[in-house]
């Protein structure tokens, strides 16, 4: 009898035709590919190369990315599975981005693993599971799903960082990454516990509702708990994007890990952490009291500090690096700073919410440039003779014209030169900052933009240094490239996309704007901003047709 009533209750709660299951389609595809991968790997004949397994996972990831494109217009109004997962264009955008970067990184991987005599299927499998975590993290509508998917995305990557078993530096990178990553996860978890204690819920929308009741009423009894919890959650995100002051792991981990996997870590982690950061802070903590806003000391002010410190420290320390991978690691800290400028500008007030599209656009441009750059570095890597320092790059550009050309495109994009995508990415980020300054006359945001522009000049120095060494310096050691077709294809795709987005950005910008506009569960003020933005867009499109 009891069982019967349970079943009827469940049947009543389940929506008709299983409509909610659409919410897990991209994640489920990657999971199924991973499971199929395990089965295929079991039947692998020992001693033969595993390239086909890499292409198998690339095809699976491409199917998952295709499903995001296919489901673009079938978002769900409310969070699926009892308020656990959002399924909107914001989710789909980041799911597709994670799948594409993972696929490109995997295409570059087989020769690196073979060169280190670690040609094992687990490498691809761990990356696939990490992608599953990323997809659900971008979708999470509850701090519970957020935490679980955060761990699902991180734990496999701790192992990937230490995958080159015979290399002591890989082991060390894995250890350092694990210790610091676990501390940041524990800090974030404590923050979630405090938020739960203060509001009685872990659902993002309910948190916002309950906070509105507390903070706008007379009693501020839970204010301290909420503030502390918020800071701790933020620190967890800052660790994942490698922002100052939680950046210290990045250079060591990037130097020690397998080179193509670093491209995946540097881009996809940053993208997904920003997705969850925007989602959590826009939905759960919209209140003016918590937002602060330029030294009223709220979460915007923390982001302000992170943006400032990351840009300055990342760029200045990158200048003095002699190891190319370390230089790219510090420059990725600087990029976290630029992205944070966009975050500060777009979220300092609900009226500027739509400027978040600059962050999404920047993440796309950044992803192609960095995955490509690490692909090129991997192309010249063999055991015992990796490309490490700038001197090692000597003359490589002239000896290998195609790779040199692609590296040139990536470096110009990362430094922010037209006509590459990186220029437009930076342009949109800084434009949103200037726009906010024009509307609020807050000097603080203008200062941030000026610092951003000045530090990107410093950035141009060390990016162009790579090209100077590749084309104008004599070679010190002879590097045999790995001559792998997959790597060449992946690098070519990255270079083409970088140029394509730089020359014809309209479509990517439209997609980013749609994704930002389609975010569900936002506060009334943000919803109003979105409505205004949609009306504006309608008007522009109408006038174009006339």
């Amino acid at each position: 009898m009891n069982l019967l009533s349970t079943i009827t209750t469940l049947a009543l709660l389940t929506p008709p035709e299983g409509a909610e299951f659409v919410a897990i389609v991209p994640g489920a595809i990657v999971t199924l590919v991973a499971i199929a991968f395990i089965i295929v790997d079991v039947f692998h004949r020992q001693g033969t190369p595993r390239d086909y397994l890499a292409y198998f996972s690339v095809v699976g990831l491409a199917v998952a990315a295709g499903s995001c494109w296919y489901l673009w217009d079938s978002g769900l109004e409310r969070a699926a599975f009892f308020g656990m997962l959002y399924f909107d264009q914001f989710t789909l955008f980041f799911s597709a981005l994670a799948c594409v970067t993972a696929a490109l990184a995997i295409m570059c991987s087989p020769p690196i693993l073979q060169a280190h005599r670690m040609d094992r299927g687990e490498y691809y499998l761990l990356i696939l599971f990490s992608v599953v975590g990323m997809i659900f993290m971008a979708a999470s509508a509850d701090l519970l799903t957020l935490f679980i998917s955060l761990e699902l995305m991180s734990i496999p990557i701790y192992v990937v960082a230490g995958f080159l078993r015979k290399d002591v530096r890989s082991a060390e990178a894995s250890m350092k990454y694990f210790i610091l990553g676990s501390i940041s996860a524990a800090l974030m978890l404590y923050g979630i516990a405090l938020i739960y204690g203060a509001t009685g819920t872990t659902n993002l929308e309910y948190i916002a509702n309950n906070l509105a009741l507390y903070l706008d009423g007379s009693g501020h009894e839970a204010y301290g708990l909420v503030m502390l919890g918020m800071v701790l959650i933020m620190s967890g995100f800052i660790f994942k994007i490698a922002g100052v002051p939680f950046h210290i792991w990045a250079p060591d981990v990037y130097t020690g890990s397998p080179t193509p996997a670093v491209g995946f870590m540097a881009t996809a982690f940053k993208a997904i952490a920003f997705a969850a950061l925007i989602r959590v802070f826009v939905i759960a903590f919209p209140s003016e009291v918590l937002r602060g806003g330029f030294f009223g000391l709220g979460w915007i002010d923390i982001a302000y500090f992170v943006a400032f410190a990351s840009m300055v420290l990342g760029n200045l320390v990158a200048v003095v690096q002699n190891n190319v991978k370390r230089m790219l690691a510090y420059s990725s800290i600087a990029h976290a700073g630029y992205l944070m400028v966009g975050f500060v500008a777009a979220n300092s007030h609900p009226a500027f919410y739509l400027h978040n599209d600059a962050i999404l656009f920047y993440l796309v441009t950044y992803a192609f440039a960095v995955v490509g750059a690490f692909g090129v570095l991997g192309y010249f890597s063999r055991q015992g003779q990796n490309v490490e320092t700038f001197q090692d790059l000597g003359n490589l550009g002239l000896k290998h014209p195609f790779m040199g050309l692609c590296m040139g495109v990536f470096m110009f994009s990362a430094a922010g030169f037209p006509p590459t995508a990186g220029f437009l990415g930076k342009f949109y980020i800084f434009r949103s900052g200037v726009d906010v300054y024009a509307q609020t006359a807050e000097l603080a945001i203008l200062v941030l933009v000026v610092v951003g522009v000045l530090t990107s000049v410093v950035g141009a120095f060390y990016y162009l240094k790579v090209l100077v060494y590749m084309y104008m310096k004599p070679e010190k050691r002879v590097f045999e490239p790995i001559r792998h077709k997959g790597t060449r294809l992946a690098v070519a795709i990255c270079a083409v996309m970088t140029l394509y987005i730089g020359l014809f950005p309209a479509r990517t910008i439209d997609i980013s704007r749609d994704a930002v506009m389609d975010m569900r569960g936002v506060s009334a003020e943000v919803a109003e901003t979105i409505e205004r933005g949609e009306a504006e867009l309608e008007r522009i499109r109408g006038s174009e047709e006339d």
Binding site: E172, M175, S182, G197, G200
Partner: protein, 103 residues
């Protein structure tokens, strides 16, 4: 007079345990001890969740604590594998030996 622990007592205890874990991670040198300190931090979070859940007569916090335990177990498995991996290279697990990657 009977004495009953209140929510505040549990929160103070869990904050103290969390701080011990955090300080331990910063000052200890042995990797195994570091993992124990991280476990301490995670378990103090569990205590916080359970205390709040009891205080509010809700189940959400209990559920969250179970998930944290499952994830912490997965983390511990990876942690020990990494420690063994490092031990094979260095014949020791002190973080002072981690000097291959610097500057």
């Amino acid at each position: 007079m009977s004495w009953e622990p209140t929510l505040a007592h549990f929160l103070i205890l869990s904050a103290a345990v969390f701080s011990i874990g955090l300080v331990g991670v910063m000052i200890r040198r042995n990797a195994i001890i570091l993992f124990m300190c991280i476990e301490l931090m995670i378990n103090s979070v569990n205590l916080t969740f359970i205390a709040f859940a009891r205080y509010r007569f809700e189940m959400d916090g209990h559920v969250f604590a179970f998930f944290i335990m499952a994830v912490a177990a997965a983390e511990a498995a990876v942690a020990l594998a990494i420690v063994i991996h490092v031990f094979r290279h260095k014949r020791g697990v002190s973080v002072d030996d981690m000097q291959a990657l610097k500057y």
